[in-house]
Assembly symmetry: C2
Homo-oligomer: 356 residues x 2
DNA sequence: CGGTTTTTGGCAAACGTTTGCTATGCATCG
DNA sequence: CGATGCATAGCAAACGTTTGCCAAAAACCG
């Protein structure tokens, strides 16, 4: 469009390596080596080449490079369903953390959404098999697989996050869901609670299984029966956490012998649940203690401030990237391992000893 | 690794177009045309080719294609700073909406973070000038620019979102910040409020300027002086919304003649502010009405439920993608236009007439 | 049935890098 | 002083597609 006479010889097509070579008075191959390799070219020539490159505003073409070396520098993150829940920032935080680590390693992050349809699976497989991406971080329990192509044998390094998929042969970075819930349940028992209300995620979901497992372990350890806990929810996804909490408040209201402590599998559930039962006159923590999972910052500003188990999202993201980049470096596929990073309870006023 | 004798001739390198051609007994070029072009090849040959492709699990190499045609199918979204705020899901929602629309158009989404450092700017410029991306959606008021390369003259189609950058020549998809705040302020005035407290975003920030402008417009229209509103905040970024609210609660407590209505520029600010002033015995909406901006779902479950101006994030995302893909189709760069999608107030219990 | 048009398929040249191999220059060594 | 080695630079062949151009075949027309 606009021809500016000065230093930036901007053609609409952009400067090529050949242009740089010409300007610097060397061969193309020398330019390539000067820009990428370390000591392969004379320091003086390199300086000349760098100057020429800068003057032309030269940027190497990533696709040409990728084609030649057979590698891309793009990592794909496979997200299940929605990117956002009610108030939880888990996924965005993961994204942020992963992206940051990736960039430091010279990689770029591409988003892939794995919905329940075949289209999105095919899309992801095209990315994987089409050489577009160099590795994947997956936050879903289902590996895309269509028409005999499966992400599992794409040859790509894959790391699982949040879910333990080491059984499926994937390096997994997870938190100690079960243990964390067990500990907080034990603490509630220690405070004197004997009847529990559990707000469940989708039936069979990894997190729900683990977290509920934690509750049961604590009950058993304290000699309490499985009947001490009532489940609510179980049919909705985590992204509908608010709805689950609202529903659960209704369920709760109908109970004759009311539990004294609530364990919610996500902050969203806890937040909407608390809001609704308070409206019905239930006092927290007077009548009911509440604790939930995720560690959303907003919990601090609820009334009362909500106790929550904080997931170490940043650390998990970093760890996942480290593992992935490590795997990219190797030729060997390392045996699947679990990397567990501990969650920790942030105790706040929503927990107290039961009244009676 | 494992050689399976059956249908999936999976070499570690993957099937090539040449393999498909050989299996189908045609030339490479015919395969290319059969897979991409519409009517250029006989229906029967095409069927044979499709069968062969499927049998081999063939996936075209995206980088080779990209190199040849000089185009990628990746769109980059340039995000300023953090991906997550306190409880607001604006950015994740944008991401989700954009990604969804993009995939339908056959494009992929790459994330680029524009921090305040030169590294990230350079990174983005490399992406833009290196042919990696086909277009960009930017959520920042600053266009990356380093060493004479500037995103502005990268030749890429760019669409701005949330911020009006039509002055800088960018198509912009925005909401009516100013008007929405003006209307809600007017409504508060109508209810009888005369003294306002305004929780500000960072000084000079587009959204803050617009929203505060809306307040002032409403005041003026009602014949109230600019002194009717006190500002608090202004030095922190939106991502520290909770901190702003906490701070503002302190400021508020020190005022001798207290405002009766609060207008917060983000839900986060409102949430933490409300939490803190309630603790000091301020009753909402009895002593103080509160309204904020964003429309975070969590506002419904605050006590009292918070009135908030809901941004049409999904729609804006869709619109931005439509514009971008439109611009990609054209050779002409269309003149910069603003696309405004209206926000709307979700009225809840946090607003009432002032006491006296 | 020869000539003309239309369809269909193949050849080979791009696209912009990287990199193995070779050529050159220069210093070092016997 | 000739031979050997080492550093540096250049040539040209890849990488896996797409596509302009041409050839062959088929269909159509007079």
């Amino acid at each position: 469009m606009n021809k500016n006479k000065d230093v930036v010889g901007e053609e609409s097509s952009g400067a090529l390596m050949a242009d740089v070579a010409r300007l610097a008075g060397v061969a193309i191959s020398t330019v390539s080596r000067a820009l990428a390799n370390p000591g392969r070219v004379n320091e003086k020539t390199r300086a000349k080449i760098n100057a020429a490159a800068r003057q032309l505003g030269y940027t190497p073409n990533a696709m040409a490079r990728g084609l030649r070396v057979g590698k891309s520098n793009i990592i794909m993150i496979i997200l299940p369903g929605s990117l956002y829940y009610g108030a939880s920032q888990i996924i965005p935080q993961v994204l942020q953390s992963i992206n940051k680590s990736l960039i430091q390693g010279g990689y770029n992050l591409m988003i892939a959404n794995l919905d329940r349809d075949e289209i999105s699976e095919r899309h992801i497989l095209d990315l994987a098999f089409g050489g577009s991406v160099r590795g994947a971080i997956i936050l879903s329990s289902k590996l895309p697989e269509v028409d005999g192509r499966s992400l599992a044998n794409s040859g790509l390094p894959i790391v699982s996050m949040l879910l333990d998929m080491s059984d499926a042969g994937l390096q997994s970075v997870i938190t100690n869901d079960r243990e964390a819930v067990r500990d907080v349940t034990a603490e509630l028992i220690r405070l004197g609670h004997r009847r529990f209300f559990y707000l469940a995620g989708p039936e069979g979901n990894y997190h729900d299984v683990e977290r509920y497992g934690g509750v049961l372990e604590a009950l058993e350890a304290a000699g309490l029966s499985e009947g001490s806990v009532r489940r609510s929810g179980g049919h909705l996804d985590y992204q509908h956490g608010f709805d689950i909490g609202v529903q659960a408040a209704d369920d709760f209201a109908e109970l004759t012998e009311r539990p004294t402590a609530v364990i919610a599998t996500s902050d969203d559930m806890a937040i909407s649940f608390v809001s609704r039962v308070q409206r019905r006159g239930v006092s927290i923590p007077g009548d009911l203690s509440v604790v939930s999972f995720d560690g959303s910052p907003v919990c601090e500003f609820c009334s009362p401030p909500l106790s929550t188990i904080k997931q170490p999202v940043e650390e998990m993201g970093r760890a996942a990237v480290d593992l992935l980049l490590g795997a990219i470096g190797q030729t060997q596929t390392t045996a699947a391992v679990r990397t567990v990073i501990r969650s920790s309870l942030i105790p706040r006023e929503s927990i107290a000893a039961p009244k009676s």
